[in-house]
């Protein structure tokens, strides 16, 4: 990782006495650590780790004690919360940092924040917080500013410095995902706003407490800035209690083991994490370059997307080509050249979000170890071109649902790594990619307790998992941002949401086909009940599948929305008529629609992103949680597994034939069995059809090249996506031209398209604000 600060400070010792152990200022300390890292190639210049090498037992003891401390704090503190997002879904995380703001170790949970809270600490260090407002024992800081690196405004950080004998020796941070941050619309990851100024209440590393007590002005201000005040208060107490538990644990350990050992540990552990990643890469992958790409849709021209600005009302596509370069020594570089520009929506990501968040994915596959810390970040070089959606160059950018792009971009990294694992024979580590972690059911109004309320269902924490190279992906099990999936009990969600369940069911056919299929997602049907002045909206992928299959496997099913108003279900219930229940098992059959009166207003289409829409009691809303992608050619799937899928309602019977070439017979009980001989014939037939359709690649490319030259065959939003990638990624542009043998002067620019491109030419970063020193952790 290349580390630099924008405004270079001379590398000389501060003369003023600082608060860091030994008398350094925070800034001098961090500068020294960074310089030593740069000069030596080892974190903090630790070419050898004295404590770990000479006293391995002592070192391990410190590690296991501290790790147990942060894990225990998370488990205990989350019981204070009222929000099911925190308490049931575990959307919280605690991390311990050294004095320079680098993470030493972390609890489980939303591990993405290892880096985002670190970035907040570094922001305070680089911007003179030591001098003003000052950093003292007992202080409490709060941050959720996306321009310092936070993922989205709903992730609130509480940060507490740790002092020993009057000197600062580190920091502890706690984060929870709150249910509402007072954005334009209710919910934590809203869609309507297109700029930061509607993205929700944002706090920049503010000192909110002294002597372990929160300031009254903070309490008064913050509690009226959000809709769900009770959740907000108890979430804050959860974070603060957890930070204080960890601080106490650190103090006890220092009392037992000595400050010198702790201090050494706080830096050696990070170098240890760096070398651990390197060893792991060496052991599990094959050196080389791995290229992959991710896309997802932003369909904003639709009438159900109500945005304030004309220039935002366009359909666009996110584009992330990536290249993983693994070197022989186990070092590696991730380059996202060719990514498209940030946009007027809430799906942009700060560079810290991107680089920190990637570890929540990597820890599920490459480094599933207790040793998760900033060492991995120091062991990785990132290149995120400035101006792209993962490194925006404008301070007006909104971030509320950064995950829409992140999950769609990172699913391609699973494929890259999986090819490496496959090559080394680690078939059990192969994973065809993560599901698009949607839909997000959100909304608000007055709830069943007659209070102002916002809802944000986290049923999305249990999506289908990508297939492995030796077994199917797990059904309804996890989300890329938290491997510990939990769909929550219906009885708990009904406490938190004025929405009655009419169904909770495996989403048939949602897993990608393959020799090993992707895990199926699930779906829940909700009926509005006891709500007043109520709204809801949808958030997910619709027109595009964002995950892909691997090695012949198919992507999962795409998203869609179903909602119904004026349903007259009250009457249907009273009449004992058949009701829409369970799942929308086969969307092509639209069985529910037939149960509703002609006058009902039904929204059933691929428009899976909407903004606040009014709902009344007895209206319906389908929450469809996506499946995962498949692995390998479906024609190689064991025919019995296909029959089992149909019998278990994981696959619609007609796709046994069309996708898998498996011929099934159905008995009187509705049970399917395999017709082996017919299956063999059918598969042979499909293989022949494939050959009949095939043409030489060269011929196909020639035809496509003609279309590119004529600029035909692609819609404007596709052209605009490429045009923005070409503009921000000159190398990508050159490679594109070379690949398609295009003339040197061939161009495609946004100007030639008949659509607005606000933001393409004029941008202003926060670094241009007075006295602001942003922390930059990547090559731009």
């Amino acid at each position: 990782m290349t580390t630099q600060t924008k405004k270079v400070t001379p590398m000389q010792e501060d003369t003023a006495a600082g608060i860091v152990r030994g008398g350094e200022t925070l800034k001098a300390h961090r500068d020294r650590i960074l310089k030593a890292t740069r000069d030596s190639g080892h974190y903090a210049g630790l070419t050898h780790c004295e404590l770990r090498e000479t006293q391995p037992i002592h070192y391990n003891k410190l590690f296991s004690r501290l790790r147990a401390g942060v894990v225990d704090a998370r488990e205990t503190a989350k019981k204070i919360a009222a929000s099911p997002i925190v308490e049931q879904e575990g959307e919280l995380c605690f991390s311990l940092y050294n004095a320079a703001g680098d993470c030493i170790l972390t609890s489980t949970g939303i591990i993405i924040h290892v880096g985002t809270m670190g970035a907040a600490i570094k922001y305070m260090i680089e911007n003179g917080w030591e001098e003003d407002p000052g950093v003292a024992a007992g202080d409490v800081f709060c941050n959720n500013d996306c321009l310092t690196g936070n993922v989205h405004p709903c992730d609130i950080h509480t940060i507490v410095p740790i002092f020993w004998e009057g000197e600062l020796i580190g920091w502890v941070g706690g984060v929870t995902h709150v249910i509402d941050t007072g954005a334009v619309g209710p919910g934590s990851m809203t869609t309507g706003q297109v700029q930061r100024f509607g993205d929700g209440y944002q706090i920049t590393c503010r000192k909110i407490g002294t002597n372990d007590k929160l300031h009254r002005d903070w309490l008064h201000e913050s509690q009226r800035m959000v809709r769900t005040t009770r959740y907000w208060m108890l979430d804050e107490r959860t974070r603060l209690a957890g930070c204080h538990m960890i601080r106490k644990q650190v103090e006890e350990i220092i009392a037992d083991e000595g400050i010198d050992a702790y201090w050494a540990f706080a830096y050696e552990a990070i170098e240890h994490g760096r070398t651990g990643l390197q060893n792991r890469l060496r052991a599990m992958t094959i050196p080389g370059r791995y290229r992959q790409v991710g896309f997802v849709d932003v369909p904003y021209s639709h009438e159900d997307v109500r945005v304030p600005s004309d220039f935002a009302k366009v359909d666009s596509i996110m584009h992330t080509p990536s290249e993983i370069e693994i070197r022989r020594d186990g070092s590696w570089r991730l380059d996202f050249e060719g990514s498209s520009r940030w946009g007027w929506h809430t799906y942009n990501a700060h560079q810290v979000t991107f680089t920190s968040g990637i570890w929540v994915m990597m820890t599920q596959t490459l480094i599933p170890t207790e040793l998760i810390n900033d060492g991995a970040a120091y062991g990785t070089e990132f290149r995120l071109p400035k101006g792209t959606w993962m490194n925006p160059d404008d301070r007006r950018v909104a971030f509320a649902y950064a995950w829409h792009f992140l999950v769609s971009s990172w699913t391609s990294l699973w494929r890259g790594l999986s090819r490496a694992y496959f090559g080394r024979g680690f078939l059990e580590e192969v994973n065809a990619g993560n599901a698009n972690t949607s839909n997000w059911l959100q909304g608000g109004g007055f709830n069943q307790y007659d209070e102002i309320h916002a809802v944000n269902s986290f049923e999305s924490a249990a999506e289908g998992v990508g297939a492995m190279a030796l077994r199917d992906g797990l059904n309804h099990a996890a989300a890329i941002w938290n491997p510990e999936g939990d769909m929550g009990d219906m009885e708990i969600w009904e406490l938190a949401e004025p929405l009655i369940y009419l169904g909770r069911k495996v989403k048939t056919n949602s897993g990608g086909y393959g020799k090993y299929r992707g895990g199926c997602g699930y779906e829940t049907l909700r009926m509005v009940w006891n709500a007043k002045d109520w709204t809801m909206f949808f958030m997910g992928n619709g027109h595009m599948v964002s995950d892909w299959g691997l090695m012949g496997g198919y992507p999962s099913a795409a998203g869609y929305r179903f909602a119904a108003h004026d349903t007259q279900l009250k009457q249907a219930i009273a009449d004992g008529a058949e009701l829409p229940l369970g799942g929308d098992r086969d969307p092509d059959q639209t069985a529910w629609d037939a149960l509703l009166p002609d006058s009902a207003r039904i929204k059933r289409d691929k428009q899976a992103i909407t903004t606040e829409e009014m709902f009344s009691d007895y209206d319906l809303y389908l929450n469809y949680l996506r499946g995962g992608p498949g692995f390998g050619d479906p024609l190689e799937r064991a025919p019995q597994a296909v029959a089992d899928d149909v019998n278990g309602d994981y696959l619609l019977a007609r796709f046994a034939d069309s996708a898998y070439g498996v011929v099934l017979a159905c008995d009187n009980d509705g049970h399917y069995t395999v017709n082996t001989a017919a299956t063999e014939r059918r598969r042979e037939q499909i293989r022949q059809e494939r050959l009949d359709r095939a043409q030489p690649t060269r011929d196909w490319m020639a035809g496509e090249r003609d279309k590119i030259l004529a600029k035909q065959g692609a819609e404007d939003h596709v052209k605009q996506m490429f045009a923005s990638s070409f503009r921000l990624g000159p190398r990508f542009y050159e490679q594109f031209k070379t690949f398609w043998s295009l003339p040197e002067d061939w161009t495609l620019t946004e100007e030639e398209l008949d659509r607005p491109s606000y933001g393409a030419h004029y941008a202003m970063d926060i670094s241009e604000l007075p006295d602001v020193h942003p922390v930059i952790l990547v090559e731009e």
Partner: protein, 717 residues
């Protein structure tokens, strides 16, 4: 222990584990004997009688002589749990809400990693679901909906229930569980379905037990409630048969008592009890209850219970004489709604494997273990990875010739070679320093675990006594208690049979829980508080009837039963509550309500932090609990005359090289059963018994008291 002739035994405790069955007999004077035999899963009574014969032989007593004088017997065992883990229960049917037929098999997602260690919890490709207890094919839905407040949204469509019942009966199910959403709040639909199913069963002329969740576990969270109700049908029914068989076998030996079973809430219930799934975990609970009983008898109010066996380290806390109860625990990778004695388990026992991470060289203990196969040191074990026991052997902690009373011969050299190759050389340490390092690491992680359990909850270890038992507890108790400043550290001389002892000491106690939703604003009027008081009291009244009914079945009159009302409270809007024993027997006023609130606020600050208290939100009572107890005979605690400080010469069996803190010393060896009350031993010493080893390192000392409890402490400076 060696005992003299005496009047017949009075109390029997049984711990039927997966491999060994322990029995514990106590006579009127408190003398006891412990027996061991292999468990016989096909007919548990065989192993039980063999274990009893082994125990009673110490008193030169035949089994039928011993049984005829017994006044009470308590069983604990792992059979039910194994049945669940191995999915060998009865084929049952399940009736849920129409549209929700999949929720049981979906396992709430959480069940695909329950019970995993940290690293596997984040390692996605290791996650997997166990088979559902009831497959989708035997699940049926009925149309109805009741909301969270208990109001009917969709009235029950009875014809659906009838059709479901008929279909399940036709499938030949052996039990039918029913669980409808929010039935804990309003059970009318669920009970109506139950009655319809019964009508259909009667009409079909078959016998199939029905289990409606509202009748058994009326608690919020349908995944938990449904799993638990299914367990009742799936796993508990076969246990009824097992227990009946054991009872019959005992009767043949002349027994005249009704066998009781240790339950998850820490009391015992009749083998005929309605909610037998409550006994799914019982053995480890026995130890906690044994410690609680010893505490009551000897005046220890605050106790940390620590139990190390072959595979795990179990910890529980007794504060002011009470155990903590968890209401929605998980067990066998299932979320459940049973009240369970809060028992924290770390996957670190004597058999735990020790490995170095190939990429980071970090030392990993467990979580998997060699179990009964000990380690590399047992040549016949087939084990190739170093275990904690191997390290014990290298360091001289355990006797290679007396493992399980000499039944298993251990080879120290094999352990030395394995530690050298797998740990010492890669870490650049000597063999003994590597082995000692592993033990130090284990001790330190157990110690932190204890510390977090005690001090993180706001208590100080100085007011706690630590009890150490289980086969390997006394080996490590010096290590995991050192420096924590416990008031006292106690090792019972019968540490290896302590769980069976605890079973014998458990109360005959029923406990019923009921979910409530009493919400009181911070500024609630006196009338509102009074109304809340009445709602709570009427729930207590209902539960009292349930409790008394259970006792009546076992022939106890209402007057025999001591009732303890309990409530669970939280700040309004929270999702986690705390369980509090009501300071008042009945509540009918706002003043009473205030007493409950005060008790809750005080407890909350102890468990979390004073800064986390949120009285400005108001209060919710989430459930009412009623516990009922009757007095039954229990083991007397032994009380022997105090002998001299010096152990009898016959008790000292020699010396062994022992390594700790970078030095080899000669540890004196003693035979545990030959020591006399009053004897005083200064470390380094190892006190050996057939089934346990008590290590007293240099700098520490122990003495045996009149109750046959060892006390461990630092040698005073």
């Amino acid at each position: 222990m060696v005992a003299t002739a005496n009047e017949g035994p009075q109390v029997l405790g049984i711990d039927a584990g997966g491999t060994m069955t322990d029995t514990f007999f106590v006579n009127r004077t408190g003398d006891f004997v412990v027996g061991k035999a292999q468990t016989t899963p096909d007919d548990e009574s065989i192993g039980l009688l063999e274990s009893s014969a082994d125990a009673l032989a110490n008193w030169d007593m035949a089994v039928d002589d011993g049984f005829s004088s017994l006044r009470t017997g308590v069983y604990s065992g792992t059979a039910m749990l194994n049945r669940v883990v191995q999915r060998k229960g009865l084929e049952c049917g399940l009736i849920v809400n129409a549209g929700m037929e999949d929720f049981h098999r979906m396992g709430r997602a959480i069940q695909c990693y329950l019970g995993y260690a940290y690293e596997d919890r984040i390692h996605l490709n290791t996650h997997r679901y166990d088979k559902p207890l009831v497959p989708r094919e035997r699940t049926r839905g009925v149309v109805e909906r009741i909301d969270m407040m208990g109001n009917v949204v969709i009235p029950l469509r009875e014809y659906g229930a009838r059709a479901a019942a008929r279909e399940l009966i036709a499938l030949g199910v052996k039990g039918i569980a029913i669980s409808l959403l929010h039935s804990y709040k309003n059970p009318t639909h669920e009970r109506r379905v139950r009655d319809i199913v019964q009508e259909e069963i009667d009409a079909a002329g078959v016998q199939i037990p029905i289990f409606a969740s509202a009748d058994y576990y009326p608690m919020r969270k349908e995944s938990h409630r449904t799993n638990t109700t299914i367990l009742e049908a799936y796993a508990a029914e076969p246990s009824r048969q097992t227990l009946a068989k054991i009872s019959t076998a005992f009767e043949k030996q002349g027994a005249q008592f009704d066998l009781r079973v240790m339950a998850t809430h820490g009391g015992t219930i009749s083998r005929k009890a309605k909610e037998l799934a409550r006994t799914v975990v019982s053995g480890p609970i026995g130890g906690v209850i044994g410690a609680k009983y010893l505490g009551e008898q000897l005046g220890y109010k605050n106790i940390v219970c620590s139990d190390i066996g072959g595979t795990s380290f179990d910890l529980a806390l007794i504060t002011k004489g009470d155990v903590t109860i968890r209401n929605d625990p998980d067990m066998a990778r299932l979320v459940l709604s049973l009240p369970l004695v809060a028992l924290d388990s770390v996957g670190a026992g004597a058999g735990s494997f020790v490995r170095l991470d190939p990429y980071t060289k970090a030392i990993h203990l467990g979580p998997d273990s060699a179990g009964y196969r000990v380690g590399v040191c047992w040549a016949d074990s087939g084990i190739e990875t170093v275990t904690i026991s191997d390290c014990h052997l290298v360091l001289g902690y355990i006797n290679p010739d007396n493992f399980l009373g000499g039944q298993v011969k251990l080879d120290r050299q094999r352990a030395v070679d394995a530690v050298r190759e797998q740990l010492a050389e890669p870490l650049g340490l000597s063999v003994e320093d590597a082995a000692a390092g592993v033990i130090e690491l284990l001790d330190s992680s157990l110690r932190d675990y204890m510390r977090s359990m005690v001090s993180a909850k706001g208590y100080s270890p100085a007011s706690f006594t630590c009890f150490s038992y289980g086969g390997a507890g006394p080996v490590h108790c010096y290590g995991y208690t050192q420096g924590l400043g416990f008031e006292d550290v106690v090792v019972p001389a019968w540490a290896a049979g302590f769980s069976a002892f605890g079973c014998a000491a458990a109360d005959f106690e029923y406990r019923y829980d009921k979910s409530l939703d009493i919400n009181i604003a911070p500024d609630a009027s006196e009338d509102q508080q009074t109304e809340a008081a009445h709602t709570l009291q009427s729930a207590w009244n209902e539960l009292t009837e349930n409790v008394l009914h259970e006792f009546e079945v076992n022939g106890f009159a209402r007057d025999d039963v001591r009732l303890q009302p309990v409530f669970r409270m939280q700040y309004r809007g929270q999702l986690n509550d705390l369980e509090i024993e009501s300071p008042i027997a009945e509540i009918d006023s706002a003043a009473g309500w205030q007493q409950l609130v005060d008790a809750f606020n005080a407890h909350y600050a102890e468990v979390y932090a004073a800064s986390a208290r949120s009285p400005e939100l108001g209060y919710s009572v989430t459930s009412a609990v009623m516990r009922g107890l009757v007095e039954i005979p229990k083991p007397n605690i032994p009380k022997d005359p105090i002998a001299g400080k010096t152990p009898p010469a016959a008790a000292e069996t020699g010396t062994r090289k022992f390594y700790r803190n970078k030095e080899w010393v000669d540890a004196r060896l003693f035979h545990m059963e030959s020591l006399e009350p009053g004897n005083h031993i200064v470390g380094p010493a190892v006190i050996e018994s057939d089934a346990t080893t008590f290590v007293v390192p240099k700098g520490m000392e122990t003495w045996l008291d009149e109750h046959r409890l060892f006390h461990l402490r630092d040698v005073p400076a």
